[in-house]
């Protein structure tokens, strides 16, 4: 059996939103689950997040947005990843996101969204099933 390399995940806070409780919990839970985690810290522009994702060669980007700016910010990150030939880096996330916005976000290319009440185990098992190391 080939030993698979560990998943590398970026946990990002994009925009001006300072609510980092969820992002920090998820980052710690990913780390405890054995993933490699890069946490961007606060107040990152979409451009900064995409740069970090590419430089760190991550398998997926997970964004936590509680500011109501999710349509703009998810859209911008996905657009920039595609522009930079990194559309294979999957984008998922969570936060305060009204249910009606979820189909629109998925159309934009967000693969999954976790809203209040999701457990860290829900997110981790989803990642194990759906995010795989990218072909290098």
């Amino acid at each position: 059996m080939n030993e698979q390399r560990r998943l590398r995940l970026l946990v990002g806070k994009v925009g001006l939103d300072g609510h980092d409780r969820g992002a920090k919990i998820i980052a710690r839970a990913f780390r405890d689950a054995g993933f490699e985690v890069i946490y961007t810290g606060l107040h990152q522009s979409p451009d900064q997040v995409v740069n970090t994702a590419i430089q760190e060669d991550v398998d997926a980007v997970s964004l936590s947005i509680l500011s109501g700016a999710h349509m703009h910010l998810f859209g911008k990150v996905i657009e920039l990843l595609r522009e930079r030939d990194s559309g294979d880096i999957k984008v998922f996330g969570g936060g305060i996101i009204p249910e009606e916005d979820i189909p629109r976000l998925k159309e934009l290319g967000v693969v999954e969204l976790f809203t209040p009440g999701a457990t860290t185990e829900d997110v981790i098992s989803w990642v194990r099933e759906n995010i795989h190391p990218r072909a290098v």
Partner: protein, 558 residues
């Protein structure tokens, strides 16, 4: 050997009645601890207070030191708390309409929520503001927006609370300038500026400058208020955000009071008389689900503050000893699942705040885990307060829970645990070195991770999430307030138009004067007010100080 702390009767009870009962009916197999994991005993008796427990020393009378029972002799019999719903969304015009609606519904004070760009001291046309304008609060770029926000609202009659921190001084100047335009003398203004930058580094994370230079802005503002706006609360020292970031109740109590101590130290260091500024410091606490823990937290807070102000800082004015506070129910306790259940949570939390002796209260709306509150939801939240005030009877007597063996034991315990943190922070050199070392941040991150694991493992119950879940919705999905994309477009157009109409050369001169003064120890408030009057923007004024103050970058603590 028998435990000397226990009276014979209690030991007898434990050996006979209790043990027989436990044999036949064991207690439920749950963790009897608070939401913050503070263990709670089966029963409290006089022994828990100990032989030295002294009424006059621990409680005293309401309106007297150490204020454990409340800061007013008659508390809510004399005057109800101020019902103050935090509101702000979209444009200044939209928020002005919500304010007028809330006042027409019996609300007694205003509370402004600003959008994220404003909270970060950035204009709506800044690159980082894209997609965020008016989303989480009202967008304010300049005095022009503030004029619209308070249009038709007489500032000498309404008290206003403004949740603004990093650019608090600038926004306060805008409020002063609106008062000037309304012909209201600024010494008549009453209200509260959050202006609590220390908890930004700890929890809320909306900053511009590093802590040390920012403290100069705080002391400038405190001094300016003492001299010119004496009825204004210059800082609302906030535990709310610390709790929302995942702290325990004791951590909220400890870090908030440690921040308060930091401001008093800074004021004294700046040469101000403690009794001149301390009476205008107020507090802001969270009220979470655990009913008694919250009440005891608020009672302990009053006692710690009174002792600290009198004994540590030598304040002589009783108003300096009094901890006055606003409360908001816990947003983080609400669930997106079965959202109507949130009305019940808010009721319990609001009741705790009232029994804890709050001076003003915001009750959260049932839909706040989904979006900003709709008008219906905010009305139910306000009605919740009105029912508690006018129907429940809890306002008939002062501090009704005093003397409960449990309540007094828990109050003492929370005081002791909070003091252990406060003393540890003092040993680190005070709250600023503690923040720079990431100490409160790390304690909170650990507590929030532990709590999340307790919820994930269903050790702590959250109805509708890990207990009593449903496949289908309970009731209709609440309508949601949406902020249209046109808000940002219109705000950008307003900003551009304002800039084209103002005296640009004058604005640039004002900003240069301000920057130069920042290099001296001149009070910056009058100069900011001048720039505001000439329509300099939040970002222009805030960032004029960056060459002198620098910017803050957090070292992330996971």
């Amino acid at each position: 050997m028998s435990d000397p702390k226990k009276s014979r009767n209690r030991t007898e009870w434990e050996d006979s009645t209790l043990s027989e009962s436990l044999d036949r009916f064991p207690e439920r197999n749950v963790d009897f601890s608070t939401v913050s994991s503070l263990p709670i005993e089966r029963l409290y008796t006089p022994e828990d207070l100990g032989p030295d427990w002294n009424y006059d020393e621990k409680l005293g009378y309401p309106g007297e030191y150490p204020y454990t029972r409340g800061i007013h002799p008659t508390m809510h019999r004399g005057r109800l708390w101020t019902m103050r719903q935090f509101a702000g969304f979209g444009s200044a015009q939209q928020t002005n309409e919500r304010f007028k609606y809330l006042l027409s519904q019996g609300q007694t004070g205003l509370s402004v929520a600003f959008d994220l760009p404003t909270l970060m001291g950035r204009d709506s046309d800044d690159e980082l503001a894209q997609g965020e304008v008016g989303k989480e609060g009202v967008a304010i770029d300049s005095l022009a927006d503030m004029e619209v926000l308070f249009d038709g609202i007489p500032l000498d009659k309404v008290s206003t609370s403004m949740t603004i921190n990093a650019p608090a001084a600038v926004i306060f100047c805008m409020y002063l300038a609106v008062a000037e335009k309304q012909g209201v003398p600024i010494e008549k203004l009453s209200g509260t500026l959050q202006n609590d930058i220390l908890k930004e580094y700890i929890a809320q994370k909306e900053w511009i400058y590093p802590p040390r230079p920012h403290m100069r802005l705080i002391t400038d503002l405190m001094g300016f208020c003492t001299d010119n706006v004496p009825k204004w609360n210059s800082i609302s020292i906030s535990g709310y955000h610390i709790r929302e970031a995942g702290s325990t109740a004791v951590q909220e109590l400890a870090f908030t009071l440690a921040d308060g101590i930091g401001y008093v130290e800074a004021g004294i260091e700046a040469g101000q008389d403690v009794d001149a500024f301390a009476p205008r410091l107020s507090y802001f606490f969270n009220s979470h689900n655990d009913f008694f823990e919250e009440i005891c937290k608020m009672r302990a807070a009053r006692r710690i503050w009174a002792k600290t102000m009198k004994e540590k800082f030598g304040a002589k004015n009783p108003r300096s000893w009094m901890l006055r506070f606003h409360t908001q129910t816990a947003g983080c306790s609400l669930t997106a699942q079965q959202p109507y259940n949130n009305i019940v949570r808010v009721t319990v939390q609001a009741l705790a705040a009232i029994l804890g002796g709050t001076q003003s209260l915001h009750t959260n709306s049932l839909d706040e885990t989904l979006a900003l509150p709709s008008e219906n939801a905010v009305t139910i939240a306000l009605r919740t307060q009105q029912i508690l005030a006018e129907e429940s009877g809890v306002t008939n007597t002062v501090d009704p829970l005093a003397g409960s063996y449990f309540v007094e034991s828990l109050t003492d315990k929370m005081e002791a645990d909070a003091m252990a943190y406060i003393n540890r922070i003092a040993e680190m050199g005070g709250i600023i070195p503690a923040i720079e070392a990431g100490f409160p941040q790390k304690e909170i991150a650990d507590a929030s991770y532990k709590y999340q694991q307790q919820i994930d493992g269903a050790e702590k119950s959250v109805v509708g999430v890990n207990r009593h879940t449903m496949e289908h919705e309970l009731g209709e999905r609440p309508e949601i307030l949406r902020i249209g994309e046109e808000v940002e477009r219109e705000q950008l157009a307003r900003l551009q138009q304002m800039k084209s109409e103002r005296d640009e050369a004058q604005v640039q001169r004002d900003l240069e004067t301000l920057r130069k003064a920042a290099e001296t120890d001149e009070n910056l408030m009058p100069l900011m007010l001048q720039a505001v009057r000439n329509y300099a923007t939040v970002q222009e004024i805030s960032f004029a100080l960056v060459p002198v103050f620098g910017t803050y970058r957090e070292v992330s603590v996971l």
